[in-house]
């Protein structure tokens, strides 16, 4: 070492050095060594300028902040205690559901329902299989109506108007004050405004009310009704109402703006019967032609479709008649010189298809039916009835269960007269029973103004509405599930209604309130008053006519048990046709401007379901738009006006106008605007208020062909836009990258009836894929669950979606979240267009979790939160899920749903977290919280239940023991579910049907949902 030092005494020291400054001991290096810190770090330290907060204090503050934050942010909500029954109610077995038969009274159809209750509270409504008309099915509104019972917006006690506010009062005060008004009405009218009355006992109450108050009059009305059709029927056949139709026996159906598969009027029976005529199992296919102004559910399912503005329907019918008569049909109808070929040329109707239509009608006499929409003028219905009669199609009218009206509806003219009398001060008391005339009557009636001249306006409602907000008294009534009743909609049977739960709040049944006012003493009321009246009415008036072998008490309990009473009543049959009726048909007018049609909403109907989040969020079956209505317009008309979707337009009809966003609807007729009713409510509850645009404002009594159809309407671009949210991205179809995509990827596979009859396996020939896989084969012993969906029967209506929402506690997320693609429906109905935008063909497909055998989602979960069960289900373990969303990323069907928020808390500031809303939830299904993935489970709770039952009964579980919620709800029985391994089951035929295919089969993930290809019943192999 010293040698090295000596050697380098003149030279730089040969120790380890890092820089030349160090090696040569430069001045800078020595200074750096002396100053430990860089310049500026340790100098100029101003102790006075530093914070007085010491490290200790800082840590103390940090700890305190954490403690406060933890205290504030914790929200331990006491959910109450689970206490076993001390005295268990006899009816309840904890953990086991009870079923009660009843009747859905949400509309005039009065379908039979079976109410499922758990621990005393109803949780699900399904159809009653014993009901001769609905046969175990109910509509989407019926399914969703369970939400109405637990609606936090329900009124809890009576209210009275003081100045501009509504103050709480008790029933005694309400009864006394209103009774005083009634007995002091003198000769002035007491108007009772109701919906269509279907209950004979309610009619009896009203009749007795009128006996006690002779100036009382009942005004039954429905804003959307079939009175025009019935009026035409009466002119043609003498009396009665338009009958039900045997759609299953019709070989050819011509629908003229009649959305018989989508609209509410008898839709349940119609859809079921129509589907029976589209049965791949029996190779039984009807042919459906539609002529319509806007694409509807019926139009989507048609084999041939014509676009025609609805105010030209009469012209079309006359032109068709002239052609039919040339072929010897002998229809006595003045066609005013109309010619079908000329008409087709003028209105761009394909002649070849028109020819097919005429040929089909002629060759299927007695097996065809022409059906016109409710909103078309009376002359159209008279003409249609005339044609049906001449072609011998009246054999398809159902004589067995004839339509029955307990109380006829009032016409709009009669309601208008009532309004005039109100304005003149001739009406002392107006009682609105669950109606909303301020919202849904034509604006030119001036009903709101007229109500101010009424001495006392009373509203019976469950939830406040526009009419109750201008009423003097608002009285809360029982929900349908808290009410007694009966219904008679057709000859041959009665439908019974019983309450499955006692009233949740201080509400009363409508009839009980009226009975109390008839007595005069508020103390008369008790919660059994209407029940006693109902029993007495049945015992004295209805039961004797039945000639029943059981004594009344046993009969009564049996009637409540079954929900239905079948009678020996025979329908009186269809009368004879008045051959001269068609002479009164007027010459059709020419048309100009735009045609406007106002239609009932598929979701909220006439607005009565506006406060139901499930229905608001249900995608429109055609446009897939949620949470809004819009003006549907054709691509050509939009182009002429320079419009894009979401642009605001102003629609002017006479003195009324409405600004509304436009949606370019493929398949809509040119110069036609179609707007759905039921939106734009100003007092529709927390959910329903301020949604959409009030198209009732365009409803006038003066200027239309009918109140729902107008000609010569002015449409202009208003400037500005409004975002409409669709649950399906509107792809530019048949352009660029998406051209023929569903066809190329074989997502949609279709054919024609001709193709099928020539080669039943044509679908299988086109699907040959390798089944090479790296996974070892798994043998499923015992039951293996699978599903088959018949696309011939699927209408795309969405009832399955609502049923799944109710069964599986799906939260409502709101418009903004749907816009982000975060809707939570486990089930979706994809709608595809093919062909030109003006004349598209439409295909629907229900997509759910396919429960793939080689599920791509299962491999990628880092925490094994999604697994595969021994019976073939793809399972989801919510409490393992950490929310990576890798599974959703990997799912090719995109059927997984992620809880980006706790939507119960998020939507409308915790509206769905209300204690009463929580009662709605199905206790058999986990309520998912934020950060967790969810998807269709094939109703595993129902599978578990069935397995437990089978074990208890010491037998094997069968596939037919389980019906999923969607299967149960589907009105056409398009969904089949069962055991793939059991060859003896009915399901096996669907699973292995020659038309069956799997979506994205080529990627070999082995999905377990079979789709049965749709067949269009066209004349030749047209694509």
């Amino acid at each position: 070492m010293s040698d090295i030092k000596k050697t380098s005494s003149q030279n730089p020291d040969p120790h380890y050095w890092q820089s030349f400054e160090e090696l040569y001991n430069s001045k800078e290096f020595i200074e750096l060594n002396q100053n430990e810190f860089k310049e500026g770090v340790s100098e100029n330290i101003d102790a006075g300028g530093m914070s007085a907060l010491s490290r200790r204090k800082f840590l103390a503050l940090l700890g305190a902040s954490a403690a406060i934050a933890g205290t504030s942010c914790t929200d331990y909500r006491d959910k109450g205690e689970i206490v076993p029954y001390n005295k268990k109610p006899e009816e309840i077995l904890p953990g086991r559901p009870n079923y009660y038969a009843s009747t859905c009274m949400q509309c005039e159809n009065a379908c039979g329902i079976l109410v499922r209750t758990r621990e005393g509270r109803p949780i699900k409504l399904d159809g009653n299989l014993d009901h001769p008309v609905s046969k175990g099915k109910i509509c989407a509104q019926g399914q969703a109506s369970i939400m109405g019972l637990y609606d936090p917006d329900r009124l809890k006690n009576p209210k009275k108007k003081l100045d501009t506010r509504l103050i709480d009062i008790n029933w005694k005060t309400a009864d006394e004050e209103i009774y005083f008004e009634l007995i002091n009405s003198g000769g002035s009218e007491i108007a009772i405004i109701t919906n269509k009355i279907v209950s004979p006992t309610t009619k009896e109450v009203l009749d007795q009310f009128i006996e006690i108050y002779p100036s009382a009059k009942v005004y039954s009305y429905e804003p959307i009704n079939n009175e025009v059709r019935n009026s035409a029927w009466e002119k043609c056949y003498g009396d009665g109402e338009y009958p039900a139709i045997k759609w299953n026996e019709a070989k050819v159906i011509l629908s003229l703006d009649s959305d018989f598969l989508g609209s509410s009027n008898n839709k349940i029976e119609t859809a079921r019967l129509y589907a029976e005529g589209r049965d791949v199992m029996n190779k039984n296919f009807s042919r459906l032609y539609t002529v319509e102004g806007n694409l509807s559910v019926t139009g989507m399912n048609s084999d041939y479709r014509f676009r025609l503005r609805p105010d030209l329907q009469m012209n079309f019918i006359l032109a068709l008649t002239s052609e039919l008569n040339k072929r010897g049909a002998g229809i006595s109808l003045d066609t005013f010189g109309m010619d079908l070929k000329n008409f087709a040329d003028e209105n761009a109707l394909k002649l070849e298809t028109i020819d097919h239509l005429v040929n089909d009608l002629i060759s299927n006499k007695g097996k065809a039916i022409l059906h016109a929409g409710d909103h078309l003028p009376e002359d159209v219905h008279v003409a249609i009835n005339t044609i049906n009669h001449a072609l011998g199609n009246d054999v398809l009218y159902n004589n067995k269960y004839v339509m029955n009206s307990v109380q006829p509806l009032r016409t709009f003219e009669e309601i208008q007269l009532l309004t005039s009398r109100m304005k003149n001060g001739d009406v002392a008391v107006a009682i609105h029973i669950n109606t909303n005339p301020v919202y849904d009557l034509p604006g030119d009636f001036g009903y709101t103004e007229a109500l101010k001249s009424v001495g006392s306006a009373i509203s019976f409602v469950e939830v406040e509405n526009e009419t109750s907000s201008v009423s003097n008294y608002v009285l809360p009534i029982n929900n349908q599930l808290e009410s007694w009743g009966d219904a008679k909609t057709r000859s041959g049977f009665y439908s019974m209604q019983q309450p499955v739960i006692s009233p949740l709040y201080d509400t009363r049944q409508t009839e009980s309130i009226l009975l109390t006012w008839m007595d005069g003493d508020p103390a008369f009321y008790n919660d059994k008053v209407y029940h006693s009246f109902l029993i007495k009415n049945w015992e004295q008036k209805i039961y004797p006519s039945l000639n029943h072998k059981l004594d009344f008490n046993r009969f009564w309990n049996g009637a409540l048990h079954d929900g239905i009473v079948i009678t020996n009543e025979k329908g009186k049959g269809i009368g004879s046709f008045n051959v001269n009726v068609a002479q009164n048909i007027k010459t059709p007018n020419s048309v100009d401007g735009f045609s406007l049609q106002l239609k009932e909403s598929y979701a909220v109907r006439d607005g009565r379901f506006a406060n139901n989040g499930w229905l608001q969020e249900l995608p429109h079956p055609v446009s897939k738009i949620v949470w809004d209505n819009y003006a549907a317009i054709s691509p050509t008309s939009a182009n002429e006006l320079g419009l894009n979707s979401n642009d605001l337009i102003e629609v002017t009809n006479g003195n009324s106008s409405l600004k509304i966003p436009v949606m370019i609807q493929p398949g809509a007729a040119d110069d036609t605007i179609t707007i759905e009713l039921g939106y734009g409510r100003t007092n529709g509850g927390t959910v329903g208020t301020g949604i959409g645009f009030n198209s009732f404002s365009l409803f006038t009594s003066k200027s239309g062909l009918t109140p729902f159809l107008y000609s010569g309407v002015n449409v202009k671009k208003n400037g500005g836009t409004y975002k409409l949210v669709t649950s399906q991205t509107i792809y530019a179809f048949n352009e660029g990258i998406t051209k023929d995509l569903p066809e190329k990827r074989k997502i949609i596979q279709e054919g024609t009836v001709n193709q099928y009859s020539k080669d039943p396996s044509f679908i299988k020939h086109e699907n040959h894929y390798s089944d090479l896989t790296v996974y070892p084969p798994i043998e499923y012993k015992g039951v293996k669950w699978g599903m088959a969906i018949d696309m011939n029967k699927c209408l795309g209506c969405g009832e399955c979606v609502v049923a799944c929402n109710v069964e599986n506690n799906i939260p409502v997320v709101g418009k903004e979240q749907v816009d982000e693609g975060r809707d939570m429906h486990w089930l979706r109905v994809d709608r595809y267009y093919t062909g030109a935008p003006e004349e598209p063909k439409v295909s629907n497909q229900v997509l759910i979790c396919q429960h793939c055998d080689n599920a791509p989602c299962e491999n990628v979960c880092p925490v094994v939160a999604t697994t595969h069960s021994p019976d073939g289900l793809n399972q989801m373990v919510y409490n393992r899920c950490v929310g990576t969303r890798y599974c959703s990323n990997n799912c090719p069907y995109k059927v997984r749903r992620f809880n980006y928020f706790n939507y119960r808390d998020y939507f409308k500031d915790g509206y769905q977290e209300s204690p009463v809303f929580a009662l709605l939830q199905n206790p058999e299904v986990t309520v998912r919280s934020r950060g967790v993935m969810e998807k269709c489970t094939f109703c595993v709770q129902r599978i578990s239940d069935a397995r437990a039952e089978a074990t208890k009964e010491n037998r094997e579980l069968k596939g037919s023991d389980v019906k999923t919620a969607c299967q149960e709800a589907c009105g056409t029985n398009a969904i089949q579910f069962g055991d793939i391994n059991n060859e003896k089951e009915e399901f096996h035929k669907y699973r292995n049907h020659e038309l069956g295919y799997y979506v994205l089969e080529e990627i070999n993930i082995k999905p377990n949902v079979t789709y049965i290809a749709r067949l269009r019943n066209t004349h030749s192999e047209e694509s």
């Binding site: 305190a64 406060i68 205290t71 504030s72 038969a101 309450p499 499955v500 049996g558």
Partner: protein, 58 residues
């Protein structure tokens, strides 16, 4: 810090946190829908129950 001082301060802290949770936090949160009193369910004893599918009585 001596023992007495420690426990005094600790107790004051717990009391303070509890009071904060009771008053200011609830006040600032506003009326929650969950604060409404729960609804009582009462079975209607006059209703007649049945099996989901099966024998009819009438």
């Amino acid at each position: 810090m001596n023992r007495k001082n420690f426990f005094t301060k600790f107790s004051l802290a717990v009391l303070g946190l509890t009071l904060i949770k009771i008053r200011p936090v609830k006040f600032s949160r506003g009326k929650s829908v969950t604060d409404s009193s729960p609804v009582k369910i009462k079975v209607n004893k006059l209703a007649v129950k049945r099996e989901k599918a099966g024998v009819k009585n009438v």
